[in-house]
Symmetry: D3
Subunit: 249 residues, 6 copies
C-alpha cells in the first residue's frame, strides 16, 4: 500500500503522537495462572486482561457437528472509566455496546480458526477492561488472539488436539477522522470528539475480517474511507509483527 502523505504542521495530537502512530504496546503473557491462556495487553493507557479457557462441550446448536466454538465476553470494570461504570449485573441486562463488542471479538477470532480441528469443545474468551482510554475493543482482539494462541498451543502439547486450528494471525485497530485529520489508534479524548470512527480487523496478509465505520458527526466521503483503510492496514501490520515477536514465531 502507498505511503501516507506528510501531516500538516499545525495539528497536534493530545498525547504528542504522530498521526499515523500507534500507542506504545505491551503484552504480558501468562498473566492469570488459572486460565489456559491469559494476557494483559496495554495500548497506551488502555489495559485489558484477556483469558482463554477450554470447556469440553459445545453450545446446543453445535451438538454432534464435530466442530468446536469460540465464545467471547467483554466487560469493563467499574473503576476502568473516569466516572464509575455501574455493573451490568445490577441492571439485569447487558449493555448494547458491550453486546456489540463481544460479538465482534467472537466473530473475529472464529474467522481465523478451523473449528473442525478444535474438536467438540468451546474456547471461552474473556476480555475484561481494567483501564479504559479508547480502543478497548481493538486491544481486546489483538490481545485475545495471543491468549487463544497460548491456550491452543497448550492443547496441542498435551495432545488434546492434533493440529493447530489457527489459520492466520489477526489484529485490530481503530482509525478515525479528528478535526479533519486522518489519525491512527484514537485515545478516548480523540475518539469522543472524532467526526468519523472506524474499527478494522485484518489478517497478516492485509485481508479484511471486519470493518465498521461510522460517521459519528457527519457522513464521510469515499476518498476519506480509502485513506482510513490504508492507515488501518499499516497499523494492523505493525501489531501483527509485535504479536509474532511476542510469540517468537
Amino acid at each position: 500500500m502507498q505511503k501516507l502523505p506528510e501531516t500538516a504542521v499545525e495539528y497536534e495530537r493530545i498525547d504528542g503522537r504522530k498521526k499515523d502512530e500507534l500507542r506504545p504496546i505491551t503484552i504480558t503473557r501468562n498473566f492469570i495462572r488459572n486460565a489456559e491462556g491469559s494476557v494483559l495487553i496495554e495500548m497506551g493507557n488502555t489495559k485489558v486482561i484477556c483469558t482463554a479457557m477450554v470447556e469440553e462441550k459445545v453450545p446446543h446448536f453445535l451438538k454432534g457437528q464435530k466442530q468446536g466454538w469460540i465464545t467471547a465476553e467483554y466487560e469493563m470494570l467499574p473503576g476502568s472509566t473516569n466516572t464509575r461504570k455501574s455493573r451490568d449485573r445490577n441492571r439485569g441486562k447487558i449493555d448494547g455496546r458491550t453486546m456489540e463488542i463481544q460479538r465482534l471479538i467472537g466473530r473475529s477470532l472464529r474467522s481465523v480458526m478451523d473449528l473442525k480441528k478444535l474438536g467438540e469443545r468451546t474456547l471461552w474468551i474473556d476480555c475484561d477492561v481494567i483501564q479504559a482510554d479508547g480502543g478497548t475493543r481493538t486491544a481486546a482482539i489483538t490481545g485475545a488472539f495471543i491468549a487463544l494462541h497460548d491456550a491452543l498451543s497448550g492443547l496441542l502439547e498435551k495432545g488434546v488436539i492434533k493440529e493447530m486450528p489457527i489459520t492466520n494471525f489477526v489484529a485490530a485497530t481503530s482509525v478515525g477522522i479528528h478535526q479533519g485529520e486522518i489519525i491512527m489508534d484514537l485515545c478516548y479524548e480523540e475518539d469522543s470528539s472524532a467526526e468519523v470512527d472506524m474499527n478494522m480487523v485484518m489478517t497478516e496478509d492485509g485481508e479484511i475480517i471486519e470493518i465498521q465505520g461510522t460517521g459519528e458527526e457527519r457522513p464521510f466521503k469515499k476518498e476519506e474511507l480509502q485513506k482510513l483503510l490504508i492507515l488501518g492496514e499499516a497499523g494492523i501490520k505493525e501489531l501483527i509483527a509485535f504479536q509474532k515477536e511476542k510469540l517468537s514465531i
Copy 2:
C-alpha cells in the same frame, strides 16, 4: 462511480435477479393511524412496519441541552421467520443481534438530523419485522426514514417545530459475496451462505454514514471491498430515488 462489469452467465440467483438488482420495493405510508409517521416497507419478501412517534421529553443524559433525540427499537415478530422466533421478553433479555441492529438504525437516522432543530423531544422509531427474508435492518432504515420524515412534516405543519431537522436523505442496503460473486441486496438464503456480508448506509450524495463488512466464511481482499462499495452505492442511490418519489420531493 463507474459502472459495474457485466456478470458471468453461469451464476444464477435463487430468485432470478441480476447480480446488481435490488428486490422489488413497496412503501405504504400512513400504515398505522395512531403513530405520527408510519410505513410498511416491503423489499421482496421482507416486510417491516416502521413507526415514528413523538414524546415530549428527552432521555436523562440530554436534559436541558436544548436538543432532541432519536431512539430506535427493532423486533422480529415470532411468525416472521420459518422457525418461530421466541419473544425476547420471555428470556428477559434482548438478543445481541437485535441490540446491534437497533443501535445501527438509531445512529443512521440521527446522523441526518439537526437535533437542535427538533427541540427537547424524542422521536421513537419502531421497526417491527412481520416477515423476514434477509436485509431486515437495511429495509428498516430505508423505511424508517420515510416514517420519520412524515412525523417531522406533521410537527412542522402544526408549528411544533420551526424548521425541518432532516439534513439529508438516507437509505441502506446489503451487498455481499456469494459463491465468489459480488451481489446486491441479499435474500435470506443468499445471506446465510454468503462468504462476505456488508451493510451500507449512505446519504443522497453518496457519502457514508455507516459501513459494516464481515468476512463470515473467509477474510476478503481490499479489491473485493472496492467492488462491494461501488455496488452498494448504486443500490442506495436507487433506493433514495424511490424514497423521493414516494414523498413527491
Copy 3:
C-alpha cells in the same frame, strides 16, 4: 334468542353504529408466508396479525401423554396505541393485562380442540396487535381461530395428522354498558368510559366457552347480565357466519 328492543333515539355511538352493530370486519388469510397459518383480522380500526405455527414437541408437563397443546402469546406493537406502548422486554416482565389475554386466547382455542388428534406437537398462536381500537382480545380469538384452522388443514393435507382436531367454531366479542345503554363490540373510546365490560367466547351452537364480565364503574344487575348475554350471542353468531364464509365451509 329473542330480538333486542329498539334503541332509544337520543343515544348516539361515537362512530355512528347501531347499539347492536358489530364494526366492519375483514379477514386476510395467508398474510405472513412463513407461518403455517396466518391472518390479518381487522375489526374497524383494530388490526391484529394472528399466526399459527407448528412445533414438533409438547411442553414438559405433557411429555408422553400422546396429546398436543396450544400456547398463545399476545403483544401490542409500540405504535399500536396513541401513546407509544413501551415493549415488555424492556421492563423484563410481561404486563399483567397481556398475561390475562394470552391465557384467555389459549384456553379458548384449546376448548374447541381434540388435543389427542393433534398428536405430540404444539401449535403456537401469536397475536400481535398492530393497531388498537378496543376489542383486541376478542378480535385475536376470532382471527386466531382461522389461522389455527388453516395450519391444521395444512397438516391434514400433508398427512401429518389423520383427522381435523377442531371440534367446533369459536369466536369472541365484547359487549358492555355505556351511558346506561347495552352495546355491542366497544371501540376504545366507548370501552374506556363503559360502566360494564364483558367479553364472551362462544361456539357456533351458542354454548359458552368463556365469559368475563366486570363492573368497571359500578356493580351491575342480573337483568343487565341477561341482556348482555343475548347481545353477545347475536354478535358471535354473526362472526362465526363470517368465519365460515371466509373458509368456504
Copy 4:
C-alpha cells in the same frame, strides 16, 4: 332468587358436603399486628393471610388526582401445595395465574370503594396463601374485604379520613359443574376435574362485580350458566352474612 331444586341422591361430594353447601368458614381478625388490617381466613382447608397496609402516596398515574388507590398482591407459599410451589422471585417473573388473581382482587375491592374519600393514599392488600385447597382467590377477596374494612375503620378513628370510603359489602365464591352436577365452593380435587368453573364476586344486594366462567372441559349451555348464577348468589349472600357477623355490623 328462586330456591335450588333438590339434589339427586347418588352424587356424593368428596368431603360429604351437599351440592349447595359452602365449606366451614373461619375468619380471625388482627392476625398480624404490624398491618393496619389483617385476617386469617379459612374456607375448609384453604387458608389465606390477608393484610391491608396504608402507604401515604398514590401510584404515578394518579398523582394530583385527589383520590386514592388499592393495589392487591397474591402469592402462594411454597408449602401451601402438595408439590412444593417454587417461588416466583426465583424465576424472576410472576406466574400468569398469579397476575390474573391479584388483578381480580384489586378490581373487586376498588369497585366497592369511593376512592375520593380515601384521599391521596394507597391501600396495599396482600393475600398470602399458606394452605391451598381450591378457591384461594375467592377466599382472598372475602377475607381481604375484612382486612380492608379494619384498616379503614382505623383511619377513620384516627381522623385520617373523614368518611368510610366503603360503599358496599363484597364477597366471592366459586361454583362449577362437576360430573354434570352444579356445585358450590369447589375444593381442589373437585376443581381440578370440573367441566365448568366459575368465579363470582358480588355485593350484598346481589349485584355483580365480576363474573368469570370457563368451560374447562367443554363449552356450557346458557341454562347451566343460569343455574350457576343462582347458586353463586346464594353462597355469596351467606358469606356476606358471615362477614357482617364478624364485624358486628
Copy 5:
C-alpha cells in the same frame, strides 16, 4: 459454663425481660397439612412458618453422589414488618440480607445431618416470616429443625430411609450489646439500636456450628465476645430443651 453476673438495676429492657431471658417461645407442629413437616414458631412477637418438603432428586452438582441435600429459602411476608416490605419477585432479584439468611439456615441444618443416610433426595426448607420482631433468622433455624425432624421421621416410618440422618440437635439465638449491656434474644427495637449483634448456632453439646458477630456501631473487645458466647450458649441450651420437650424425646 459459668453463671452470668447479676445485672445492674438501672437498665430496663423494653419488654421488661431480664438481660439473660429469652422471649416466650411457642412451637405448633403440623401447622400446614400439605408439607411433610411444618411448624409455626413464635418467639415473642416474631412468628415464622417453617416447612420441610421432600423432592425425590438432588441438585445438579450432587447427581450420582449417593447423598442428599438440604436447601433453605427464607422470605418475609409484606405485612410482617411495620412498613410494608415489597416482594422480592417485583424487583426481580433477591435481597442481599435474604440471601445471607437462607444460606445460613441451609448450612446450619446440613451440619447436623448425615446426608448419605438421606439418599438421593432434597429436603426443601421454607421459612416464611409472617410477623417480624427481631431474631427471625434464629427463630427460623430453631423452628426449621423441628419441621425437618418431623419430615424425616415420616420418611423413616414409611421406610423410605433406613436410619434417621439427624446427628445432633441444633438451635440458634441472637445475643448483643445494647447500651453497654450484654443481652439475650434481641427484639427488633433492641436490635436496631444495638452496638454489637451476634448470631449463634450451636448443638446440644454446646459446640459451635456458626457464629456471626458484627460491631454495628463500634468494634467490640475480646472480653465482650467471651461474655456474648457464654450468654448465647445458655440460651441455645434452653431452646434445645424446649425442642426436645416438643418432640417428646
Copy 6:
C-alpha cells in the same frame, strides 16, 4: 496476646508455610489511574483489584442526613478460577456468596469511618478478583482499606473534606481448622477441605469488627474457637503493620 504453642512436626501445609504464617503479601498503590484510590493486593496467588471512587450523592435512604456512605461491590473475573466462573450478569441475578461478601466488605469499612466527616457523598468500593486462591474476601478488605485511604487523602488534599473520616485501621484474615490443625490464611486447597473456617475483621487495637465462623464439616468446640481467635488476631496485626508501612504512616 499469648504465643501459639509449637505445631506438631508431621503436619505439612501444601505450600510449605508454617501453621501460623501468612502468605507473602504485595500491595501496589495507584494501580488504575481513573479511580481516586486503587490497589492491586496479592496474598500469595490471590490477586484482587480494589478501587475507591467518589460519587457526589448519597443513596436515597440517606438524603438530607448530612452524612456519607460506603457501598462495596465484589466480583470474580471468569478467568480467576480454575473452572471458568460464568458472569452474574448472564444469569440476571447476583450469586448469594457474592452478596454476602460485598455486604461484609461494606460493613467492615463503614465501621472505621466517621460518615459525618465524609459529607453527603458515596464512596464506591469495587473489589474485582483477577486470580483466586482462597481468602479473596479478606484480601479485598485489607486492600480496599488502602484504596479508601488514598481516595480520602485525595479529597482532604483538595479541600473537599476538612478532616480524615477514617477512625481506625482495619484488616482481615481467615483462620481455620484443617486436618485437626489450627492454621492461618488458608489457600483454596486448604479452605475447600477445612473442617472449620473463620473470617475475622479487626482494628489495629485488636478489637473485633466482624467474626464469622462456620463448622463446614463438623461443629467446633469453644476451646478451638479461642485458639482461632488468637491466631487471627496475630495475622491481622501483621497485616495492619504492612498497611502502615505501605502508607508510610
